[in-house]
Symmetry: C2
Subunit: 433 residues, 2 copies
C-alpha cells in the first residue's frame, strides 16, 4: 500500500499504516465540486447555501476520522485534535470554503482540505501533536458577495461594524447580518464587536492556498513559502483634465491633451516600477480602467479629459507610501509640463501583512528537508491570514502551484503539488511547539 | 467719411468715395445671425432651409450693389463682376454658408462675406478687374449633416457617387439627392458624375476662412496665409490585446498589460512627434478615444485589452506615410517587448492639399505691402479649397484670427481682423491676371 510521504531527510518517515491522504484529498475535492457545481463553475456564496454544503462535507469527513467538530461564534467550522499540552495556546490552520460566482474548486478549499488530511493522518497514525491542533474552515473570505472580504475571520476578532453587517448580498439583497444569523452566527455578540476568540490563545496560524498568479508555473515551483500579503493604495477614479479641441487645428505646443498626459504618467510610473524592482522592492502597479468621456470624445477631437483607476500593491507600507508619493509628484510635473490637471477621488488603503519571520524560516528549513524548493513568494491577493497576522498572531502561508489564476473555473492545481504542500504543512504543525 | 483701406505701401490706395465695407460686413453678419439663429447657435443645415436663407440674404445684398447673381448646377450661388478680359479663365473666390448644428456665425460665412465686400467695393468704386471675378457661396461643406463634407464643391466636379447621393440627413432622414433637388440642383447631371464646371475655366480659387485652432490668437496674427490643408491617416479602432490577470498576483515580468503597452505606444509617438517637429515637419497626432472593456475591466484586474483611435495629420503625404509606418513599427516593437498584439481596423485616408506656391507668395508679398504679418499656417481642418486644389486649380487660403475654435456658438472673430483679411483678398483678386 502506497504512503503519501515524500522522501524525508532528517525527519521521521511517516509510518506506512495505510492512511491514504492522496485518495482522501482526491475524493473530497471531487465531492466538493459535485455538491456545489453550478454548471459553469462553483457556487459557494459567502454565508450562503453552497458554502454551508461545503462545510458540512468537511465536517462529515472529519467525524469519519474521529476528529472533534464544532461551530464557532461566527459559524465557522472548527475541527480539533487534542495535543500533549492542552492548556497551552493551540496551533491553528485553515482557509475558507466560500468562492466567487463561477469560481474554481480549489481557491480556499485547498487549505481546508490540506489541514483535514494532516489531522486525519495524525489521528489515523496515532500521532499526538505537542500542542492542540485546530483546523478552521472559514466563511465569507471573498469580497464578491458582500463587497467586503474576510467576514468569517473579521467576525472572530470583533471587526465587523454595523455598516458591515448591513451590507447586502449582491445576488439576493439579503443583509450580511441576516445571512450570518441564518448560518448560526452569534449576531448579538458580533454586532457588539466582541472578540469571539482570544488572539493570545492561538500560538500560530498556517494557511495553505493555491497561487493566484502565474509565477510558480513560470518558475517551476510546486510549493513556495509566502513572505507577506501585499497591501495596496488605490484610487477608483483619477481624472486628467485638459482641453478639448480640433485635432487638426491645434498644434503640439498649444495642446492640453488628457490622453497624451495620462500615457506620459503611466509610462513614467512603469519606468519607476522597473527601477524599483531592480533595487529589490516588492511592487506591482495597475491601471485596470481607463476611458475618455463617451458623451464627447471623437476620433478628430483632442481629448479634454480621461478617467482612470490607480492601484499600487506591496508587502511594504514604506514602499506603498513612497510609490504613491512618486505618482502624485509625477502628476504635478506632468500637470505643469502639459497644462493639465489630475483630480483624485478618495484614496483607499489596505494595509500589508507580514508573515512571521520565524515561521517562514521554519517552513523553508522543512522544505529543504523534504526536498522541496525553499523559494519564497509574496501574496498579491489578500487572505484571512492577514487578519490573523494583523491581530499579532504569528502567521505563515504555503502556496501551491496553480495554472490559469483563480476566481475562474479553469483553476488547475495538480494533486501531486497539493500533496507536497500538505506534507510541508503536516510537519510544520507538528514542529510548532 | 471713413474708408476701409489699410495703410498701403506700394499699392494704389482705394479712393475714398464713401463705400463702407466695414459697415456692410457688420450689417450683413448681423442679418445672417438673426435670420438663422436657433436659440443656442446658428442653424444652417447643408442643402437645407437655414443655408437657403443665408444664400438669399447674400444674393439680395449682391443685387443691391448691382452684381449679377445666378445659381449653378449644384445650387450654389454665383455672383459675377465682369473683367477686362471676359474670355479668359475667371478668378473665383468663395466659401460655404452651411454650418454644423449649434454652429457659429463665421465658419464659412466669413469667406463669402469677404468676397461680397470686395466685389461690392469694386462695383461701388468703379474698379474693373483684369479678369472676370466670381464669388461662389457654396452649400454643404460641413460633414455634420450628411456624414460627408464638401458636397457643393464636389458636385461641381462630378465627384458625388450614387452612395453619396443616398446619404441621409442626420436630423430629418431625407436623402442628399432629395435635399439637393429641392434646392434646385440638377440631380440628373450630378448623378451621372458630370462636371458642371470646367476646371480649366477657373484661373485661381481664393478662400478666406476663420482659423479653427488657437495658433493665431496665441501668436498675435490677425491674418495669415495658408500653406496647405492637412490630410490624414486614421484608424477608428486599434485594439491592444494582452492578458487579463489578478493585479496583485502577477509580477511585472509576467504581465501582458494592454494599458501599459498602449501608454508606451502613445509616449513613443509623442516623442517621435516632438523630434519630427524640430526637424521642421508638419504633423499633429491624436488619440481622441481610448477605453478598456467595460464588461470586464476592474480596478484590481490587469487590463487584457484596450481600444483606441489613431489619427495623424500633415500637409505632406510623405510625412503622413512615414509617421504611419513609424507607428506600425512601434506597435510591433512593443508587441514583442510586452507580449501584446495590436489589431487594426480599416485604415482611412484623406489626401492633403497643397496651396499654390505662386499664390501663397503673392499673398505674402501683398501682406507685407499692407503692413500685415507675412506668416504662414497650415490648415488642420478641411475646406472646399482642397477640392479645387486637387482638381488642379491654383488655390490659396487666407485665415482670420478667431477665438474659441469653430463649430460652436462661441466663435469670436474681430471685425477689424476680418477687414484686414478682406483688404488682402481685395488686392489678391485684382492682382491675379
Amino acid at each position: 500500500m502506497p504512503t503519501n510521504s515524500l522522501p524525508v531527510a532528517g525527519l521521521t518517515p511517516a509510518p506506512a499504516i495505510g492512511f491514504d491522504g492522496r485518495g482522501l484529498a482526491a475524493t473530497s475535492f471531487a465531492h466538493l465540486r459535485e455538491a456545489t457545481a453550478d454548471g459553469v463553475g462553483i457556487l459557494r456564496p459567502s454565508y450562503g447555501p453552497g458554502e454551508q454544503t461545503a462545510l458540512e462535507i468537511v465536517k462529515g469527513i472529519a467525524e469519519q476520522y474521529g476528529l472533534a467538530t464544532a461551530w464557532d461564534g461566527a459559524a465557522n467550522l472548527v475541527i480539533t485534535l487534542a495535543g500533549l499540552q492542552p492548556d497551552m495556546p493551540f496551533v491553528l490552520c485553515g482557509s475558507h470554503l466560500d468562492a466567487v460566482p463561477q469560481g474554481g474548486n480549489y481557491d480556499g478549499s485547498a487549505g481546508v482540505m490540506a489541514g483535514l488530511v494532516c489531522l486525519a493522518r495524525m489521528r489515523a497514525e496515532g500521532v499526538t501533536p505537542p500542542r492542540t491542533l485546530k483546523l478552521i474552515a472559514l466563511r465569507g473570505e471573498e469580497s464578491a458577495w458582500f463587497n467586503k472580504p474576510y467576514l468569517g475571520s473579521s467576525a472572530l476578532f470583533g471587526q465587523l461594524t454595523e455598516q458591515d453587517l448591513a451590507l447586502k448580498n449582491q445576488a439576493t439583497g439579503q443583509t450580511l447580518a441576516d445571512c450570518m444569523r441564518e448560518c448560526g452566527a452569534d449576531i448579538s455578540r458580533i454586532s457588539q464587536c466582541e472578540k469571539l476568540i482570544e488572539p493570545g490563545s492561538i500560538a500560530a496560524y498556517f494557511e495553505l492556498h493555491i497561487e493566484q498568479g502565474p509565477v510558480m508555473v513560470a518558475r517551476g515551483f510546486p510549493v513556495a513559502v509566502v513572505t507577506g500579503i501585499r497591501g495596496n493604495i488605490r484610487h477608483r477614479s483619477v481624472r486628467c483634465v485638459g482641453e478639448a479641441g480640433h485635432s487638426g487645428a491645434v498644434p503640439r505646443w498649444l495642446r492640453r491633451d488628457a490622453v497624451f498626459a495620462t500615457a506620459d504618467l503611466i509610462s513614467r510610473l512603469d519606468e519607476h516600477w522597473r527601477v524599483l524592482l531592480e533595487r529589490g522592492l516588492d511592487l506591482v502597479v495597475t491601471t485596470g480602467i481607463i476611458a475618455t468621456n463617451a458623451t464627447e470624445h471623437a476620433m478628430s477631437r483632442i481629448p479634454g479629459e480621461v478617467e482612470f483607476s490607480f492601484e499600487v500593491r506591496s508587502q511594504s507600507l514604506e514602499t506603498l507610501e513612497a510609490f504613491y508619493h512618486l505618482m502624485r509628484t509625477e502628476c504635478r510635473n506632468i500637470g505643469k509640463a502639459r497644462n493639465v490637471e489630475f483630480q483624485f477621488d478618495r484614496r483607499l488603503d489596505s494595509a500589508p501583512a507580514r508573515m512571521d519571520g520565524t515561521l517562514v524560516e521554519r517552513l523553508r528549513t522543512l522544505s529543504k528537508q523534504l526536498g522541496l524548493p525553499t523559494e519564497t513568494i509574496p501574496s498579491g491577493a489578500g487572505h484571512d491570514a492577514s487578519i490573523f497576522a494583523n491581530m499579532g498572531i504569528p502567521s505563515a502561508m504555503i502556496f501551491i502551484r496553480n495554472e490559469n489564476g483563480s476566481h475562474n473555473p479553469r483553476e488547475a492545481m495538480d494533486l501531486d503539488d497539493f500533496m507536497k504542500g500538505t506534507e510541508l504543512l503536516y510537519h510544520a504543525l507538528l514542529e510548532t511547539k
